[in-house]
């Protein structure tokens, strides 16, 4: 066991001290921050910048509604369109011509705009919907239907969790969460955790594979395994690289939010432009699941009320479980490939396929987090490291979590054992093209 620790420690130190590791660990959060900054910057300064808009509204329907925009400044003029067309650019960015609208039964009205630049889709949709709204109100007024009465025709349906409500009624405060919001947070969090696992498997699994190939190519492996059992060497490598992964993720989990907060502070104008998007969303009245209509404190409360005491430890268990299963597969492949990376591509297939399937399943699982596919996905050990963490925010039945972990741990042991059998043959095998049949034979070689 001592030797495993020695190997793991070396693997860890060698990687953590590398310049590329330090750069990647620090640059990734900075890169994410930079991307957030750019996105924010372009969104605020670019497409959705505040415009001076002048309207020639011939039927005055829009003007009469006293429209206001959080983003743009509206002006109205009685001048002739042909006249102002020539010189609107002196004072305004955009000229909108609303021709007369006489026949109230028409369902379509064409509005022209004049602008030096093309308008963004967001701006156009916003104008369309706010003009449309004023026309709708105007038509309602004209038809002598009471506006309040008309509004009362719209009924918003809200689904609520009956079980949850009963719990709240029974005074269980923990359960006091608004069902829909927790679903949204669960979906986002689940997707994020699933994606994180997907990254972990490829980044750190690949690292284990390269580390093993390096030893084989450098021919140091024979010196090593005359002092240590191949299995110990492999295990040490997997543990060492796993620790590297944990270090890197921990740094990222701390740094990324910090940097995002800093970015938020830098582009304070952010709020203004996002207002336009919010405006649009409200105008379009899509009713899609979004965080609108929930205020920040509600979100924070909801976030805090998630069962973090369960989510975090279970996520860590699945992080290691998934990492062990896949990195041991990478280890076996790495030992078999040796010096020709190209030759190894086909051997990677059995690793890539389950990960990709799990990742595709993830979408469906998030839509129906307690369905049959979700339950299957969280039991099957090649999928569960990606599927189960994604379900955690949806309060899956505890027996499923436990069973999933038991299967996961048993599979870890099995896969590491299996990989060890292939590894100890593979690392000493040179100049042989390896097929799956060959790998299968190695399983039965005597140690």
């Amino acid at each position: 066991m001592n030797k495993v620790r020695l190997v793991a420690w070396r693997e860890y130190l060698v990687r953590v001290r590398k310049k590329t590791f330090i750069i990647a660990t620090l640059l990734t959060p900075i890169g994410i921050g930079l991307m957030a900054f750019m996105a924010g910057y372009f969104a605020s300064k670019g497409g959705a910048s505040s415009k001076n808009i002048v309207f020639v509204d011939e039927s005055k329907i829009f003007e009469a509604s006293n429209p206001e925009s959080k983003t743009h400044t509206y002006h109205f003029t009685d001048k002739d369109i042909n006249e102002i067309k020539e010189n609107y650019q002196e004072k305004y960015d955009l000229l909108v011509h609303i021709p007369p609208f006489e026949d109230m039964s028409l369902k379509k009205h064409q509005v022209r705009y004049f602008s030096k630049e093309k308008l963004s889709v967001v701006t156009i949709s916003n104008l369309e919907s706010s003009i449309g709204k004023s026309y709708k109100n105007h038509k309602i007024e004209q038809s002598s239907i009471d506006l309040d009465l008309y509004d009362s025709f719209n009924t918003k349906i809200e689904f609520e969790d009956g079980v949850l409500l009963e719990k709240i009624a029974a005074g269980e405060e923990d359960a006091a969460k608004s069902g829909k919001l927790s679903l949204i947070i669960g979906t986002v969090l689940g997707g994020l955790m699933g994606f994180l696992m997907y990254m972990v498997i490829f980044i750190y699994g690949g690292m284990v594979m390269r580390s093993i190939m390096e030893e084989k190519i450098n021919r140091i492996v024979e010196v090593m395994i005359s002092s240590i059992k191949p299995f110990q060497l492999m295990l040490g490598k997997i543990l060492g690289v796993g620790a590297v992964g944990l270090t890197q993720l921990t740094i990222w989990i701390i740094l990324v939010p910090l940097i995002l907060i800093v970015v938020q502070l830098f582009i304070g104008g952010n709020a203004e432009q996002s207002a336009e998007l919010v405006e649009l969303a409200q105008n379009m009245n899509t009713g899609k699941a979004s965080l609108d209509g929930f205020n920040v404190s509600q979100i924070i409360t909801e976030f805090n009320s998630l069962n973090w005491g369960l989510i975090i430890p279970v996520f860590v268990v699945f992080f290691f479980g998934g990492y062990f299963i896949y990195s041991s597969m990478f280890a076996a492949i790495g030992s078999a490939i040796g010096d020709d990376m190209g030759e190894g591509q086909q051997l990677m297939i059995p690793i890539v396929i389950p990960v990709v399937i799990a990742f595709i399943m993830l979408q469906g699982v998030l839509q129906n987090p307690n369905g049959n596919m979700a339950i299957f996905g969280s039991m099957f050990p090649l999928f569960s490291p990606i599927i189960m963490p994604a379900r955690l925010a949806f309060d899956p039945p505890i027996w499923q979590v436990i069973l999933s972990i038991v299967i996961l741990i048993a599979s870890c042991v099995f896969f590491v054992w299996l990989a060890g059998k292939i590894y100890r043959v593979g690392i000493l095998m040179y100049g042989k093209k390896v097929s799956f049949k060959e790998l299968g034979k190695w399983l039965f070689y005597k140690a």
């Binding site: 030797k3 020695l6 190997v7 070396r10 060698v14 030893e215 450098n218 021919r219 140091i220 492996v221 024979e222 010196v223 090593m224 395994i225 005359s226 002092s227 240590i228 059992k229 100890r424 000493l428 034979k441 070689y445 005597k446 140690a447």
Partner: protein
Amino acid sequence: MNVLSIEHVTKQYGDYKAVNDVSFNVPKGSIFGLLGPNGAGKTSLIRIITRITGADSGQILLDGVPLGDTRIRDVGYMPEERGLYKKMKVGEQLMYLAQLRELDKREARKVIDHWLEKFEIGSWWGKKIEELSKGMQQKIQFIATVMHKPSLIILDEPFTGLDPLNTNLIKDEIFKMNDEGTSIIFSTHRMEQVEEICKDIVLINAGQKMLEGKVNEVKDQFKKNQFYIEYSGLTSIQSSPIFDVVSDDNNKALIKLKSSANTNDALANLIQQGSQILKFEERLPKLNEIFISLIENKPS
């Protein structure tokens, strides 16, 4: 007393028998030559001795005790295909390997310093392996093999890639360690080195043992009753019922005694022919010849 006993060891890869029922003993304190052509099964056998792989059948005794995982310190192995971590520093690399051979940190540091001083490369501690030349790397590899003072050292072609100066340096260290009681197995196909260094040999070919014994006994066994002669007083020597002349040039001849004859008869005959004998010496076969004749006569 044997440091190592190989007893009926067999190792099979698929249908291919890499080692086929091989048995021999390595006497304690000897420098033992493990010989054989390429692909004879030397490396397979060494890998079994160093516990890199296991034998399918047979057993190996180290100091009379079956090989186990607890004896890693007792064997030092320098493989033919050498390798070190290229990006690691010399000192760290040796420390790492020493600790894997169960030396504690202080002990490891002491022996490594000692060896680096001995080879006058004390300043290399902080150099990366990839900065060193091949020959220099080989010195580090040698230190890595012997630093934990194993009682048995296995060297697979230890001199390839070394200049004569460094070859002698390493050779001297090998002799020195041998004087201090370390047993050494020396695997090679360079016969002149074997004759110079080894006292005992085993020859394997196609996975099977062909020959075993002390170098001089093996030579005795394969000698062809040939003698070198240097003489004067005659221009040439004639064959006689006692011996045949194999070659005779410039007053130096090689004769082969007939099976019933002895050396005194031959000398008497030579003197009778009128020659003045200056030198009369038995010609022992070179290991190389034995090696080639054995392998060619017994196709695998």
